[in-house]
Symmetry: C2
Subunit: 353 residues, 2 copies
DNA sequence: TTGAAAGCGATACCAT
DNA sequence: ATGGTATCGCTTTCAA
């Protein structure tokens, strides 16, 4: 039972919150001493510390964040920025997971997590100043994109520590973290080649962002490594959406592929839908490998063989990188690439690994 | 091109941010006047305003958030709290959408959005004090749950404006917003009844939270309204997950239902999977209505007839309610219930409406 | 070990 | 219309 009636919570206007000074008065010490106790500094005598802590817990005192931030020049807030041209942010389970991973890691480190969705130009114009404003955010994680250099340059040039999530095309020198997209695509192609596939097609993502480009590069390298040749007709460009996969797979069929590496599970799901409509059997007539290994990969028929990205770990690592920057802005820019792995399910037939 | 080299961004340590005072000095006015200009107050003469605005835009000055928050006792931050026992937060697309809706609405109102995932008891203990600390958050939206009264009472008793997202069981007097779950379930049952179904079963959600309970109540009322009787054997309790739906539908089959109202799309997807395995055809052998109408509902075979919740609008309305509270804490607690609608697709057969 | 006092950078009231 | 100044609640030297 909550057990508190409505009139009680109206008292709000009358109960102003306590301050260090007041706690100090109650404990018969100065505000400085209370501050030391609150911040667990060592130079406080046992008896005083006990006395103060008792009063703090009795009164439920908690320091005022704004005052603390102002005095210490630290807000303990980390922001995640999703630029506008990241399509369908919350449609794609990838972003949900990313958000979850970063939020958890942020909280785990006693920071507060803020999310900025720059979904319209109007919102973008209003939010960017707030994001880059001093005193509110200690550091930013920015989802990498194709074109949003306005934002990125503002952040890179600004005085705020940042980490870019995903290799920023054309700016490999910046501080970023990514998963190994090239390797992931190679793993997929290797798997298909080992199964004896000879005409391995791909549905790539948009090529103006690194996951799109890198997975295509990996696909091509994978073909070469396996003694297969690159055929332009077997390369179709999707847009990371289910609809995109649905349409792209249609185009490919004319060229008789016996397997398709599809650069995201979402596109793979769309492709499976199309293939089912056309009565083309997966994996009997055609083998499919997806990319992401998010929950939907297991809920389609057949279950998707796919590339697993360590998204939660990715979030944790991104936060760690950022904290390093926050604590010492002189550490040089760093690039961190996480490994991925192949998850074999039912969309390729024979299970080998 | 970002076009700024690495050494430039290391200057950070040397470029301290500007203050009102400094801008004032540059413009030959006092800090008070600059403050008035920044806050677009009317009592500033044209020439002075122009002069100051010019300097502000030239220097890129932006007020310090912490100082502003401290002085004005307003942080312009709104938090969304997801208690621990909300299962599988980001597995369920519902929560992604909710987050998106609230984040967008928050930004739209020039507030900053913070997300608190109380995913472990440890994190919960660390975060709750921060959430309820004065000076950092102007208001909270709390996802309603079954058991988390500790948190809820802390917030309700605290001095922080809040809105509960979802009717809090046993506390109808609190400030909350919900969708009409009872009506939604009735819509589903009515639809099935109109199609001539006589043995309409249900897979409910967990009954200790309102969406679970209310949708079951609506199901029962719907049966009665249509002259059908309530049969306990036709009621199975799931847990809002795909796995739950998968298992629950199995139990129901013994009792020969000709239709099932399933209290979430996720459970419906699990049920469809099970039915497919058993070679039971939907909608020929059995009709299905889901609940939520999130993207996956359209990506299963057959596409789900379901109840659509206005989640984005829900987020907007929640933020609006909260802002009302923030701006005047004396407005009485309010309960807002949004309407839902039936979306007819392919999982029930004959299209009537 | 403890206290006094000077900031931090805004707001907002009071003068002029 | 503009400026002066107290204030918000904490951190952080500096003395004692």
């Amino acid at each position: 039972m909550i057990g508190i009636s409505w009139e009680r919570s109206q008292e709000r206007n009358f109960m102003k919150s306590l301050t260090l000074e007041e706690i100090g008065k109650m404990a018969g010490v100065s505000r400085s001493t209370v501050s030391r106790v609150v911040n667990k500094e060592s130079n406080v005598s046992e008896p005083v510390r006990d006395r103060v802590e008792k009063i703090i817990s009795e009164t439920g005192y908690s320091p005022n964040s704004a005052a603390k931030a102002l005095a210490s020049q630290r807000s303990y807030v980390i922001g995640l920025v999703i630029p506008r041209n990241v399509e369908a942010f919350f449609e794609d389970p990838y972003f949900s997971r990313l958000t979850q991973g970063i939020a958890q890691a942020t909280n785990h480190n006693d920071y507060t997590f803020s999310l900025f969705l720059l979904n319209t130009p109007e919102v973008e114009n209003r939010i960017i100043p707030r994001i880059t404003r001093p005193g509110f955010i200690d550091g930013l994680i920015v989802q990498s994109t194709s074109a949003d250099d306005k934002l990125l340059s503002k952040i890179v040039n600004g005085n705020i520590p940042y980490v870019i999530a995903g290799r920023p095309l054309g700016h490999d020198e910046l501080n970023y973290i990514d998963v190994n997209n090239i390797d992931g695509a190679k793993l997929a192609v290797n798997h298909l080649a080992k199964l004896g596939k000879k005409r391995i097609a791909t549905i790539s993502g948009t090529l103006d962002i690194s996951p799109g480009l890198d997975r295509k590069i990996g696909y091509q390298q994978g073909l070469i490594n396996n003694g297969l040749s690159i055929e332009e007709d077997l390369i179709s460009v999707g847009d990371f959406t289910q609809e995109g996969g649905y349409h792209a797979v249609g185009q490919l069929l004319e060229h008789k592929p016996d397997a398709v590496f599809i650069a995201s599970d979402q596109m793979a799901i769309g492709a499976l839908r199309r293939l089912k409509e056309l009565n083309i059997s997966v994996p009997k007539d055609i083998a499919i490998v997806g990319y992401d290994d998010l929950p939907p990969a297991q809920y389609v028929d057949p279950e998707l063989t796919t590339i697993r990205q360590p998204i939660l770990r990715f979030g944790q690592a991104a936060v760690n990188m950022l904290l390093k920057k926050i604590n010492d802005n002189n550490v040089p820019a760093e690039q961190l690439i996480l490994d991925v792995e192949l998850v074999v399910r039912d969309s390729c037939g024979g299970k080998i690994n």
